[in-house]
Subunit: 225 residues, 2 copies
């Protein structure tokens, strides 16, 4: 739905962000340092959002951001900053950097996706509805609740995020590892079986729709509309 640049020197992070945003239908461009980021932004006229890591070789995120804001053509480009530490966050605030949003590492990919959605909405680039209805199952992201036959089923935070993840990936088999990385964050190293426990609870709360979360034996789970 949009062309997005991710600039970070860590391949792992780039891949992670790119993968998730690709799945939301975005076209991803990657840069491994600040210089490359600037080059891509200037060459491609169609970039609609830039995600910049603060710490990068050649030119750091602040420097790239400043450059973006100085150029007439890119001055209005929505920019999201990735910061590793609280101090950098302070710096962001203190300098009135002009970033539109910031996310501290480590982040949950889902949270990042949600914020990207938000930024694009603000920029008037996106139009998808935040409410999904599958039969009598309502996933309402505005109210931040899931209803069955009109009744809030009272999901806990993790259950809710799990639900959103499934909703965004319906019909796709998801390994426990993927789920853990998406919902718990990429640097979470807990037991894979924890996923099962949450699936169990989510299934129970979904009632008749519990069976919509299918077990993919030997792999993971899949949410079927």
């Amino acid at each position: 739905m949009a062309v997005i640049l991710i600039a970070d020197d860590e391949v792992r992070i780039r891949r992670l962000v790119a993968d998730f945003l690709k799945r939301d239908g975005h076209t991803m461009l990657e840069a491994s340092n600040g210089e490359e980021a600037i080059r891509l932004i200037e060459e491609h006229g169609e970039i609609e959002l830039a995600i910049l890591d603060v710490m990068m070789p050649e030119q750091d995120g602040f420097s790239v951001l400043r450059h973006i804001r100085e150029q007439e053509l890119t001055a209005k480009l929505p920019v999201m900053m990735l910061t590793a530490r609280a101090e950098e966050l302070d710096q962001l605030h203190g300098l009135q950097s002009g970033a539109d949003d910031y996310v501290t590492k480590p982040f949950s990919p889902l949270v990042l996706c949600a914020r990207v959605k938000n930024l694009l909405l603000r920029a008037g680039k996106s139009e998808d509805s935040n409410a999904h209805k599958f039969g009598e199952l309502d996933i309402d992201e505005i109210r931040h609740e899931v209803r069955l036959n009109g009744e809030d089923i009272g999901l806990t935070p993790k259950e809710y995020e799990l639900m959103i993840y499934f909703k965004n990936n319906r019909g796709i088999a998801l390994s426990r590892e993927k789920i853990l990385n998406a919902v718990w964050g990429y640097d979470y190293f807990g037991d894979l079986r924890t996923v099962d426990t949450h699936i169990k609870k989510l299934r129970a709360k979904l009632g008749e729709y519990g069976s919509k979360i299918e077990t993919v034996r030997g792999y993971g789970y899949r949410f079927e509309v």
Copy 2:
């Protein structure tokens, strides 16, 4: 409900103001400098309110204001000035600049919205009711008070603004961050827990209606009609 121009060289501020006023149903036009502001005002005959930053490239806010007042067609246009410093405020007063209202940066978006509403009311352009009644809970923006069973419950300024924010966003889950940005101002970076404290007090004063402010665990709060 009205066509409003926001002129400021900082994208962030323009976005912020535009977002909030759009949500109140206004149509927003944006200009990033004084020259552009004048051009838009002359081209669009239907602008009903102009919000001008004092510090802008090309032509500063005072200059734009003077231009507006000099032209027969726009002389009566309500104008709100945004000033960054107290000195500029002095200048505004001292020069009898002819602005209808002024807001100092940093401002709370809600305060700005309220003042815009006021200006439009004065100009006879707006007609929406400023009083909301939910059962025995009266939110009266004219009298600037909230009544329970007809009795003013004596909200403090922050509590009142919080209440208004909730009223304007009922049924929507609001993160602490959003609340802080909206009620405390866009550049306030205090403790998120502060929100809890104010919620606590507001809930107490709302009595039986306190429970209408629901906790959305792991996210924030939501006001239910």
